[in-house]
């Protein structure tokens, strides 16, 4: 039982990472009703952009402490370029189609982006380990953790709290809630729904890119990086309820703790257990833990 503190700390780190990676997906679904498979591509794009820009930054001999800003900046940059291109160029013509068809469209876009990444960055792995080691480590009990992990926890908290405050407390947030409730009536009332969609898609994708960018220093950045994150994000947001912010947070914490517990106690079932939890939640609460009842439409 002496492993419990380790399980909790690992679980929190993993949950923070999951939340950053997945919250964009729930945001985009909540506002636009799109199950967005390109989410994984943005994660990978963020990781690649961060790897090459931060690598260049460090190679030039600029102050390494500022490389965290470069990580963030490269994620913002890449998503601000690519996301509007996809939303304005392709997705906006598809909104009239069925939810499942739009999901297939994002699958097609995911395949295209996956190879675009290979074309731009090649297939060789990138490493930028420096920002990871720079901050030293801290101790919990007799275990030592890299301080870098706390950055992701910070980002996760900032994203979660920031989004909640934005939705609850500002005029833009209230307009957005109106758009979520009924896009057509909102449009009739003079709200620029198109702009909300564009900004939501860009911002949601940016969160995925940030997740990727801050993961880049901890792994080797290779092709296929985004594939796994898609189903993981699915699991997280589906457990909480598609489109629900607190749901995504709860989903991330559940999956984080469950996974770290299995890694410590029963490593053989690590991969299986995440999807098992997802299936279990779906079996009892088909729309996730934080969902409201929905009327059947005739």
């Amino acid at each position: 039982m002496d492993q419990i503190p380790a399980v909790i700390v690992d679980g929190i780190f993993y949950a923070a990472w999951l939340f950053v990676a997945a919250v964009g997906m729930t945001l985009i679904y909540g506002v636009m009703k799109i199950v967005n498979l390109t989410h994984g591509s943005f994660y990978a794009l963020g990781a690649y952009a961060a790897a090459s820009l931060t690598g260049a930054w460090l190679a030039k001999g600029y102050p390494p402490m500022l490389s965290y800003g470069v990580l963030l900046g490269s994620a913002v940059l890449v998503s601000v370029i690519v996301a509007p291109l996809i939303e304005r160029g392709i997705l906006r013509f598809m909104y009239a189609k069925d939810e499942v068809v739009i999901m297939l469209i994002t699958y097609a876009l995911f395949l295209i982006l996956e190879d675009t990444i290979k074309l731009i960055w090649g297939v060789d792995p990138y490493f930028i380990a420096e920002p990871y080691g720079l901050l030293g480590s801290f101790d919990v009990g007799d275990l030592s953790y890299p301080t870098y992990n706390l950055i992701l926890v910070g980002i996760a908290l900032a994203a979660g709290i920031g989004l909640t405050l934005l939705l609850r407390g500002t005029r833009i947030g209230k307009l957005l809630l109106t758009v979520i409730h009924d896009p057509e009536v909102s449009r009739a009332m003079g709200i620029n729904v198109d702009r909300f969609y564009l900004v939501t898609f860009t911002f949601g994708s940016m969160l995925a890119a940030i997740g990727g960018a801050f993961t880049a220093p901890t792994v080797s950045v290779v092709p296929g990086l985004g594939v796994e994150i898609i189903v993981l994000s699915f699991a997280v947001v589906v457990i909480g309820g598609l489109g629900s912010l607190p749901g995504a947070a709860l989903g991330a914490v559940i999956v984080g703790l469950v996974r770290s517990a299995t890694i410590h106690y029963a490593p053989e079932v690590e991969l299986f257990v995440i999807y098992f939890v997802m299936a279990l939640v779906l079996a009892f609460r088909p729309r996730g833990l934080f969902s409201l009842a929905e009327p059947r439409k005739i």
Partner: protein
Amino acid sequence: MNRDRTLPILGAVMLVVVLAGPLLPQWALFLVTIAIAKGLVALGLMLLLRAGLVSFGQALYYCIGAYTAGSVGRFFNVGDMLVQMIAGAAVAALVAFILGFLLARYRGIFFGLLSLALSMILYGLLVKSEALGSTDGFNVLPSTVLGIRPSEAWVRYVVAAVGCGVALLATALVYRYLRTPLGQLAPAIKDNEIRVEYMGTSVRNAIHAMYVIAAALSGIGGALAATTVGHIDPDMAYWTTSGEFIFITILAGTGSVVAPFLGAAIFGIIHTVAFDLSPNTWQMSLGTALLLLIVFLPDGLWSLFTRRKAA
């Protein structure tokens, strides 16, 4: 109304494949067999798609079929491909029958996501199971048919021919099924579930039946793929494999039982040509093709034929 010539045409095509088979090079026979295997999975997905259901986890049954076929060889030393296909279909159908009680309650995006989760559970289990070779998978016994082992030079042809026969039989059964009241419910379910229930039919049971049939077809496909490739690994259950099947189904459309096989053949050709031309961008070609299809041919390639007839 014209007489429906679907089955005679399909039979004729299969006969041509079987007769022309000895003349085809080995790689072409391989492509044909894999196309038949994937076509069987797509045929199952088509049944679900007619009812408006898209399963993002059909690779679950494809993989179950393949691993059943492999295990029959590994643990009982049976390499007979007919036994493998029957076993694959049976195990897949059994699993689908059990999971169907759960899945038949779901529609739309949630049906897709839950089936995705289930296939990823299998993937997670297989990756960690030492007895089944974990991530590397294991080799399947060389194919035999009714106790006869074809020589090295003929084995590809025999597998292709037997595959053709089994696929023709399965397709004929599906064709019959689509003409039963149960089979004709699917479009009605897609249009308006509640009215179907008011007419006194259980939508849930109809979907459950469809789901089991689709799984059995995928199981046969998986077993056929296993004996053709001679090797199986957990990637057969990964969600990208399911994505491939959905691609084939959308490409083919729901117009006819022949369509999935056509779709699988075209998918194989796109895959091979695109991969040959530039190995790093074949996914891009696939994605572009899928995008164009959804926009310009939402009912699949088959709608090209029916549209011309109408005009």
